[in-house]
């Protein structure tokens, strides 16, 4: 388990546009420079939000990564719940789920812009 390395990669990715281009072009070569377990490598290469959440990736870092992956808001929340269903509770950090999987916000039906 090298959560630090997983987060370090995502931190760099989230804030460096050049790294984002390189990652889009060649995920495996980009990830190879980090000390990752096979599970971590696969989760990052495939954009497995649920598993990364369960690993304990800081929520802010993961949220920005989900935005980079163009995942819609409610899909992103559901992917985290799905991760817990599949892999169990969050293993580290301060972003554990405490609401029992309940949904606390709903989208407006009209989607009215201001």
């Amino acid at each position: 388990m090298s959560l630090y390395q997983v987060q370090k990669f995502l931190y760099n990715l989230n804030r460096e546009e050049k790294l984002q281009s390189r990652f889009r072009e060649d995920k495996h070569a980009t990830l190879a420079t980090y000390e990752l377990t096979d599970d971590e490598f696969t989760a990052l290469a495939s954009g497995d939000i649920g598993l990364l959440y369960v690993f304990g990736v800081n929520g802010q870092i993961l949220m920005h990564y989900a935005a980079f992956l163009q995942i819609e808001w409610f899909d992103y929340l559901q992917l985290m719940r799905g991760g817990i269903d599949k892999h169990g509770p969050v293993r580290a950090g301060i972003y554990a789920m405490t609401g029992g999987g309940k949904q606390f916000a709903e989208a407006g039906k009209t989607g009215e812009e201001s």
Binding site: I61, T98, S114
Partner: protein
């Protein structure tokens, strides 16, 4: 006295990014109106510099070298780091205030150990406030970060001292300086619980803050904050620092827990600046 304005506001990314998803458009627009009023108050103060006491979300600092406090002294800053379509704020360059920032750092170092940086990327924690407060990005900005994300975090007693040192540093300048503190109160952002808000806890906190009740503010402990207000509650540091800098009583101009799509109790307030 060169501190000419002190206030607080929320910064959650949904405030801009998920505006179109808010079911309660009337409450949302009332919140936006208060943010625009805050912008007008800052303009009316004739502030020459806007210092934003923020809780960044891994735009500049990571656990390889995490400062408890850092001030941005660069000539310019960039942001947002997030996908522009997601945040609904275009990528831009924001003017800094390097000379004033450096003078503030020098003054604060007499009593507080703070880091400084000539490079600064802004995430939603600063971009959302700027989007409302200086939408043309024509007011020089000094970004400031208090680590609220990567524990161990600076204790609240130190946060108060930081706010006092910031005030002292502002008082020594001839430039007119506005300070906004930006953080959430109770919230569980970036978890499946996003949208959960502990309104009672928020209102109690805001009462302590508006009353400048230092003893009750510094009585919060992180374990209790985490259980009652979530990891997002750690951001009260930015609000407490701003209160300590202002010294005067606060006026709560807006609070609503009715916009859970924004993932935070939406807040706008200002403080009197007293000697």
């Amino acid at each position: 006295m060169s501190l000419v304005y002190a206030g607080i506001l929320s910064h959650a990314p949904g405030i801009t990014g998920r505006a179109h998803l808010a079911p309660n458009a009337a409450v949302r627009d009332a919140f936006y109106a208060c943010l625009h009023k805050q912008a007008a108050e800052i303009r009316a103060s004739e502030a020459e510099v806007l210092l934003v006491v923020a809780a960044e979300h891994f735009a500049n600092f990571f656990m390889d070298n995490m400062p408890a406090y850092c001030l941005g002294i660069g000539e310019k800053h960039t942001g947002p780091i997030e996908d522009s379509d997601w945040l609904k704020i275009e990528k831009t360059t924001i003017p800094g205030a390097p000379e004033v920032a450096l003078k503030i750092v020098k003054s604060m170092l007499k009593s507080v150990d703070l880091a400084y940086s000539e490079e600064w990327q802004c995430d939603h924690g600063i971009m959302v406030p700027l989007h409302f407060l200086t939408p043309n990005y024509d007011l020089p900005v000094i970004p400031c970060n208090i680590n609220c994300q990567g524990p161990p975090l600076t204790p609240l007693s130190r946060v108060w001292q930081f706010g006092q040192a910031l005030r002292q540093a502002c008082d020594e300048q001839t430039e007119r300086i506005a300070i906004v503190g930006t953080g959430g109160i109770s919230h569980w952002p970036a978890t499946p619980d996003s949208g959960k808000i502990n309104e009672d806890w928020d209102r109690e906190f805001l009462q302590r803050l508006m009353n400048q009740d230092m003893h009750k503010l510094l009585a919060y402990v992180d374990e209790e904050v985490y259980s009652q207000a979530g990891q997002g509650g750690f951001e009260i540091r930015t609000l407490i620092a701003t209160a300590a800098a202002a010294r005067g009583p606060g006026e709560l101009q807006f609070y609503s827990a009715e916009l859970p799509i924004f993932a935070v109790g939406c807040t706008v307030a200002r403080f009197e600046i007293t000697a």
